[in-house]
Symmetry: C2
Subunit: 192 residues, 2 copies
């Protein structure tokens, strides 16, 4: 798992030595389907990289509804940024959608790496920018898009996730009811 | 305006010399109410700090509806991060809600400052984290909160903005219709 991660880092211009150093401080873990990595109320103490499978970040509101903030399929990072940065209890849960393999770093180790390895800092900055752009698009979509547009955006952005996710999770991610999502999908199939 | 900005920076532990250097590369400008600072399709070339007044970042969808991403009252930063980072055409507009005074920096100058002044980098990182936390909350709220909860969150977060904004802009920010916002406000007043 570690060597696969080192190969992944090479896509981001991290030299072998840097990739090896980052990988050397990582721990690994497997998660069963539906297993929680972190529950709301806990403090996010690790940077987590998903090697295979898929995790999701979500919260559950007082009325019992689940709202999904993010899907993290293989080769993506997952954490609650606010809880990790400020070491305060998290408002969200992180759980496995599929059986998953992860690598994770203690916060103190990762911060040490960010200082030691300037290329990691550059890579982290790229990820942060991408996160900000993506969140901006998501807010605009949540404010103004119709359920049809929201579903279409999802299909465009995450074509490979469609068959891996139960419909209720796609609905929770889009912020529409399952009934609405079924209607939108049905109408779309009729058009093809 | 420049000395007021330097004083503001001192709240973030930037030493006099650093604040003075940052301020020395800033240009200033005033905006009339409703004047645009940037239109969708343009490339965001400046970091902008609002000294007084208020700006908003918004987009207009094909059906002519306005969706507000952010209000930036005095002593806040405003830019389209994606357009600024990647120098691609912006999807959003930036305009003045009130007569406003701004300071702004050319991207190249600001990037030079980030290298020259390590404390500016730390301050910028704080702002980025705050932006990410705030976006996360906003997405969860857009997905799961009722109009009543959305309005209540707005009142809690921005009590000072309530009397400065037309209701239609608050509705555009919350992603609810003006009619719904009026109903929510009316019901709230009845409860007091």
């Amino acid at each position: 798992m570690h060597s696969e991660f080192e190969n992944y880092l090479k896509n981001y211009d991290l030299p072998d030595e840097a990739a090896c150093r980052i990988s050397s401080l990582a721990m690994s873990r497997t998660l069963r389907r539906n297993e929680f990595l972190m529950s709301a109320g806990e403090i996010c103490k690790h940077k987590v990289f998903v090697m295979s499978g898929m995790l999701r970040i979500f919260n559950i509101t007082a009325d019992g509804n689940e709202h999904i903030l993010q899907f993290s399929p293989g080769h993506g990072w997952v954490l609650d940024v606010e809880s990790y940065d400020r070491q305060v209890p998290s408002k969200v849960n992180i759980g496995a959608v599929e059986p998953s393999e992860i690598l994770y770093w203690h916060k103190a180790d990762f911060e040490k790496l960010l200082i030691e390895v300037p290329q990691l800092r550059l890579y982290a900055d790229q990820l942060i920018s991408r996160n900000i752009h993506h969140s901006r698009d998501r807010i605009l979509s949540a404010l103004g898009a119709t359920p049809e547009e929201k579903y279409e955006e999802f299909v465009q952005k995450f074509p490979k996730l469609l068959n891996r996710l139960p419909l209720r999770m796609i609905a929770s991610y889009l912020g529409v009811s399952l009934k609405t999502l079924n209607r939108v999908r049905h109408a779309q199939l009729q058009r093809i």
